[in-house]
Structures are given as C-alpha cells and as structure tokens.
Symmetry: C2
Subunit: 109 residues, 2 copies
Amino acid sequence: MIDKTIRMNYLYDFYYELLTEKQNQYMSMYYLDDWSLGEIAEHFNISRQAVYDNIRRTEVLLEEYEKKLELLKKYEGRKTQIERLKQLLQQGEQHPHIKEVVRALEKLE
Amino acid sequence: MIDKTIRMNYLYDFYYELLTEKQNQYMSMYYLDDWSLGEIAEHFNISRQAVYDNIRRTEVLLEEYEKKLELLKKYEGRKTQIERLKQLLQQGEQHPHIKEVVRALEKLE
C-alpha cells in the first residue's frame, strides 16, 4: 500500500478533470503546491475547517472514482508488467531491437 | 475514425460505472443487446421518444467523459504502440524470450 499523500497525488492526477474548479483549486494547492490548510484558508478568506472539509470530501470522491474506474490500479498493473518485460528484454541485450523495444515500452506507462 | 456504434460500445465499456442505473439499462439494451428503441420503450411502457432522448443524452455524456479522461484515446495509443512492439519482436524470432514478451505484451492491452 502506497503512502496516502502519494496515492492522493496519483488519484488527483487521474481524475482532476472530473472535479469542480473549487475542488481543483484546493487540491492542487494542498497536494501539488504543498500549501498548509491555514495558508489556503487565509488566501481565500474562509475558515481552516471549511478548507479541511472540502479537501476531505474531494479525497472521498477521488476514492469513489477509483473504485469505479480503477485507473490507478490498472496503471500499477501495467507498470509491473512493463517492468517485468524490461527485465526480460535486458537479459537479451545482444538482440538488435532490444533498445528500441525498451524505449517503446517506456512510452506505454 | 471508427464507426459510431463501435465507438459507443467502447465508450460505454470504459465509462458505464459513471452512469446511473437507468442510463445503464437503456444503453446496455440498445448497444450491447441490440434492442430497438421501440422494443425498449414497450418494455418500460414509456414513449419511444423518451428512450431516444435518454440514450442521446447518455451518448453526449460519454463523449464528455472521453473529452476529460481520454480513456479510449489512450487505449488506442497503447494498442498501436503494442502492435508496433509485436512486429519488432517478431522480426527477431530467434530470440529466446520473444514468445514470452509477446504474450506479456498482449496482457497490456
């Protein structure tokens, strides 16, 4: 299980297009730009509790989207699979197309 | 550009979890089970126009999800990429891991 902040960063990255503008503002300030709840509250002139509630609700929403669409889960599945492929291919470095295959695999992620 | 029915089948497959129960009923009957608008209308004892409107609105909604999340577009990108990889690998059939790599690549789709 990955760390909650890392997980939220991933989920946010996958599903931000489904959030409202306000949800996006708070989430990107908190998770991407590392502002504190207090700093966000002061910036928008609202209570710290209001920011906290909004972000927690958005986190729940992101988990609901993940439960439905499983984009992070599928991404991790592909990543594991691709890592295995790279290892397989690296065992055969003499093969003329190996490097190109590895570069192409990286694009799949 | 793929045919509209095929496209809707794909979009429905990617996003059905985001639809309501009613939207899912109509869409699966119309697109997956190939019922006519009239048959669906009769089954639910509503007008053909109501079924038509609901399905058209759901189609628009699916296109909106695709515009935001691009799951079909990304899937097609991966498919093209994977096809290219398979061709590359098949050029080097003597390589001992090729068959395993191809099988693994197929799982990526």
